[in-house]
């Protein structure tokens, strides 16, 4: 299998500022040395709770924010230090769809122009061809070409997300970061958008980095799943394995906490206690140890490495 995207030891820290003069008091370790790869036509689901760094990963991979260290290889070449001009050319190959279709579309632009804008920015095609491309993109994502002259507020949430997807597809990318693309949508509409993303992958062989906090959605769309906690991947393997036999206590806790839409199955009430600690002041050793039901002495001091416990199944836990 050829790897489309290879991320190695990616790190991103942000300065934490305080006080009148914004002195840097500390650093937020948003992403702390994570590695993964995504093959052509595959989806990696990146799961975690708020503040775990999953969105930062998505942005750093596309270099919408600059990684602090580590490397990102796309289609075989290192893009970590690509100068801006070449980076722009690369944007044709990798795109992003954001969570909120209300704030990611310009309210004063017509839907057709929003979708055609990437073509204009990249100087591809003349006005007539752009219009034609936009029309076919509208049809592709399940919108009517006659809706091209409408403004974003005239669309529903699900339709707006279709516009965002059409815009991301305009330049014919190979790879799309989908950052919580269905979290703002109602469940019946969410299903429409998930089906669309999966159809597009089947047609065009797109690869996705699918970022979500919703485990059931991730299970539905992904081939592989990586679970993040406080900036690190704690477990990473194929979908079937991780859902059938999760090994990290955090993955297990996450799955136990998801409400199941079936009243016949009532959860057992063994939930992890406490809150996610601050990414500025992370617990020493295993970051999960203060909430872990299986905690042992070494977990408090020794950081577990992400190691392969079985072929293709990586876990960062001393007990796995």
């Amino acid at each position: 299998m050829t790897m489309l995207l290879e991320v190695s030891e990616l790190r991103k820290t942000f300065p934490a500022r305080t006080g009148l003069f914004g002195n840097v008091i500390d650093r937020v370790h948003a992403v702390d040395g994570i590695s993964f790869s995504i093959a052509e036509g595959r989806t990696l689901g990146l799961v975690g709770e708020s503040g775990c760094g999953k969105s930062t990963v998505g942005r750093a991979v596309l270099r919408l924010i600059e990684p602090s260290s580590g490397s990102v290889r796309f289609e075989g070449s290192d893009i970590t230090h690509l100068p801006p001009k070449q980076l722009r050319a690369l944007r044709r190959r990798m795109q992003i769809v954001f969570q909120d279709p209300y704030s990611s579309l310009n309210p004063r632009q017509r839907a057709g122009d929003i979708v055609a804008e990437p073509l204009m920015v990249h100087g591809i095609a003349d006005a007539a061809q752009r219009r034609e491309t936009a029309e076919s993109l509208f049809a592709k994502v399940g919108l009517q070409p006659r809706q091209m002259s409408l403004y974003p507020h005239q669309f529903s949430g699900g339709q707006r997300q279709r516009i965002s997807i059409a815009r991301a597809l305009a330049l014919g990318p190979r790879f799309i970061v989908a950052d919580e693309p269905v979290s703002a949508l109602d469940v019946s509409v969410q299903a429409q958008v998930i089906n669309l993303l999966m159809d597009l992958q089947a047609q065009d062989g797109l690869s996705y980095l699918f970022i979500s906090h919703n485990l059931a959605v991730v299970e539905h769309v992904s081939h592989d799943v990586a679970v993040m906690y406080l900036g690190r991947i704690v477990e990473h393997t194929d979908k079937a394995t991780i859902f059938a036999r999760p090994l990290h206590p955090y993955t297990q806790a996450l799955m136990a906490a998801v409400p199941v839409a079936d009243p016949a199955i009532r959860r057992d009430k063994k939930h992890v206690m406490g809150d996610v600690p601050s990414p500025i002041n992370r617990p020493p050793g295993c970051h999960f140890h203060p909430r872990c039901p299986l905690v042992q002495d070494r977990c408090r001091t020794e950081e577990p490495a992400l190691r392969e416990v079985q072929p293709g199944h990586r876990v960062a836990c001393h007990l796995a």
Binding site: D186, A191, V217, H220, P259, P263, D275
Partner: protein
């Protein structure tokens, strides 16, 4: 057991420039003490407007409750004066919201806010009210409650703030707690903790809980009974178990089929519901769901279907099923 809250024919409209928006139309339900009733539906279905109508918190104008009764332990809340209603809110019927940060006063400590609520309804000293605040924080399992009582909302995490909201809502032992999407803004591990907390307190205190949510998973976990709303109307009503096992209305059938579930086949498509919810100021003549419904027949487009029993203890509004 007798119902503690009985809602009958509740109708709430908003007068807007685009016309009359029928947010809640002819909604009836009842909740018993110690029972959890879920009101389920997607954005704009009227579930929050139903809750705000029960609390009489509908902004008037433009909103107006035009019909119906809301009986709380025998008293019709809609017939009370504003002063009378103020006495009921908090002491008899309380509400918690999705985003606790917007419902808490950022300038007052958590303890002070809870104490204020207690002294509003009960004739007790300030010291006793403060003690009650700490006691409530302890009851919602906030660690170090004395210290937390002296903190401001911004010093707490989202889950902690929601616990504080629950402490405040239950401080005067109301008979009914309305929880409007109480865990939607929370992470899933924190959501599980808060749902457990509400459930435990319901059992300990015998509070009737009206849980408003769009999340069918949450409903399945905690609700004894549920009602499903679509475009301002109740379309299905019954025990949670029965409605999940055997949904009668095509809308609930579609909703249940569109939820992604663990263990689905590789590459399986989700069943979606085509189209979108109609705007409430421009509802179709017949069943509001007819334009999206695969089973719709002629009658569906002409007349609104009445709610009728389809199975024992299970009603739905549909001409077809």
């Amino acid at each position: 057991m007798a119902a503690v809250l009985e809602v009958a024919g509740l109708t709430t409209v908003f007068h807007t420039r685009t016309g009359v928006v029928r947010a809640v139309q002819d909604v009836s339900f009842s909740v018993e003490a110690g029972e959890t009733l879920a009101i389920v539906g997607e954005s704009g279905c009227g579930k929050t407007m139903t809750a705000l109508s029960l609390m009489r918190l509908i902004p008037t104008p433009p909103g107006q409750i035009t019909a119906g009764t809301v009986r709380l332990a025998g008293t019709d809340l809609l017939g009370l004066s504003e002063a009378g209603m103020r006495k009921m809110r908090g002491s008899q019927i309380a509400m918690i919201f999705q985003e606790p940060m917007t419902a808490l006063n950022p300038l007052l400590t958590i303890g002070r806010q809870i104490a204020e609520m207690v002294s509003l309804h009960e004739n007790i000293s300030r010291r006793a009210a403060n003690a009650r605040a700490v006691e409530m924080l302890q009851q919602v399992r906030i660690p170090a409650p004395e210290r937390r009582a002296r903190e401001y909302p911004h010093q707490m995490s989202g889950g902690m703030r929601q616990r504080a909201m629950i402490a405040m809502a239950l401080a005067c032992r109301p008979k009914v707690l309305i929880a409007d999407e109480p865990t939607t803004a929370l992470d899933v591990t924190i959501q599980a903790q808060v749902l457990d907390l509400i459930d435990d307190l319901r059992r300990e205190l015998g509070t009737a809980v009206v849980l408003i949510t769009h999340d069918l998973g949450v409903v399945a976990e905690v609700a004894d009974r549920m009602i499903v709303m679509y475009a301002g109307r109740k379309v299905e009503d019954g025990r949670t178990k029965d409605l999940f096992a055997d949904p009668c209305h095509p809308y609930l059938q579609g909703l249940l089929a569109s939820v992604p579930r663990f263990g689905a086949a590789e590459g399986a498509r989700l069943r979606d519901i085509p189209g979108i919810v109609p705007p409430l100021h421009d509802l179709p003549h017949g069943c509001a769901f007819a334009p999206r419904c695969a089973c719709a027949v002629g009658a569906c487009r002409d007349t609104v279907p009445p709610l009728e029993p389809k199975r024992p203890g299970h009603t739905a509004a549909c001409w077809v099923t």
